[in-house]
Amino acid sequence: MGRIVGLTGDEATAEAMRQINPDVVAAYPITPQTETVQRFSEFVAEGIVATEMVRVESEHSAMSACVGAAAAGARAMTATSANGLALMWEICYIAASYRLPVIMAVVNRALSGPINIHCDHSDSMGTRDAGWIQIYSENCQEAYDNLIQAVRIAEEEKVRLPVMVTFDGFIISHAMERVEILEDDEVSQFIGKYKNAYSLLDVDSPVTYGPLDLYDYYFEHKRQQIEAIEISPEVIQKIGREFKDLSGRYYDLMGSCHLEGAELVIVAAGSTAGTVESVVDELREKGEKVGLLKIRIFRPFPAKQIAEALRGVRAVAVLDRSVSFGAQGGPIFLEIRSALFDEIKPPAVVNYIYGLGGRDIGVDEIERVYKNLERIAHTKKVDELVGYLGLRE
């Protein structure tokens, strides 16, 4: 049995990191991630964790230090937001390519410019092709739970990929919620010891990381990465089940959904899923056949499970908190619409971009989306494929 405490998202993340007790943490502070690293530094200063804390001069160095540490056989973690993640970009690809199980908390914040410190998903969505497993969290509890599971997922022998766990900047990172914390020894038993089969520090079996890899083998190495991330869903589910045995909280590829008998469904990731859920509860009480599908694992995208879950649904609205400029909609929308392409009777799918730069999304707007879905389901006509919620004309 664990404890029930009041923690912000950043604090819950730092608490998970304390319990994980990584060998190395290399991080650079950036709003709204700052409190995570600040609190964790206190644990280091007080000698509560055995972690080697590397106070780097930039996020590029933070991820580089994590890559070096992980290659040397250490369990390495970091946390960042927005422009910090953008500065890591190059090394994010390298961590994934070298198959290093680095764990990173990404506190979602809008990318500059113009400069903005509030939540949207442009930062993590931008790295969606970097080869990392991406887990989106709705609230503080999920951020805590996902981070602990991420360690196991990343280090699983047949996966061996870095994992990022995201949660919404300020909305979650700075909001205090009720969080159930596991016992320290439960966490350390759950995650076990990290054993890198190819450690740079193992002088008895020397290994080279990062050689030049040209046209004769680079393609084969990319194919291996594809295989690893495609295998990961079964690992994620297995670890989700084990985590349920430990905590009582179950996590699958999709987040908890409300789809029983639903005809009109909203797909959302992050804290907005919670807002949608409360609207669903309200409207269902009035007898409306509305539902929610919450995104949890975005990379790899669980297309098959989502297509199955949406079978029989008449209209779907996908909420995207980021823009893919010049694309046919937001990143989640593109995935969902593509996942439904092979369905015999696919539902109508529309996209709403919302919440950019921390713009609030309210219950009214979500109710309006369900109204629009009702009209679409009725008329079978989509006037506007991509719309904008909460934008002033």
Binding site: Y198, S205, V207, T208, D216, H221, E227
Partner: protein, 102 residues
């Protein structure tokens, strides 16, 4: 060497054998080849000191030969030789025996 498929190679481009850079024959990159004139050589071994590719083979403290499998033809040895015992000639004049790594 027959190239392996993606299922048969270590992940992430890892190289699990030490010192196997030698197997990669870089000699085929050469456009100019160093040629040695035994008569002028005083065996001072400055060429050995300067060669960035360890391609001067020395035996019993004397210049013996070039390692043409790895010499990239940079010409540093010929520039550094104090007695002008090494000069560069166009590679095309010689038969190319090795292809890089193949």
């Amino acid at each position: 060497m027959k190239e392996k498929g993606w299922k048969d190679i270590p992940w992430g481009g890892l190289i699990l054998e030490e010192g196997n850079a030698e197997e990669y024959k870089t000699g085929s990159w050469r456009t100019h080849r160093p040629v040695w004139d035994e008569k002028k050589c005083t065996h001072c071994l400055l060429c050995w000191v300067y060669c960035p590719d360890s391609s001067i083979i020395v035996k019993e403290e004397k210049f013996k030969q070039f390692d043409y499998d790895h010499c990239k033809g940079c010409g540093i040895c010929s520039t550094q030789c104090p007695t002008k015992a090494i000069h560069m000639e166009e590679e095309g004049k010689f038969v190319i025996k090795t292809e890089g790594g193949k």
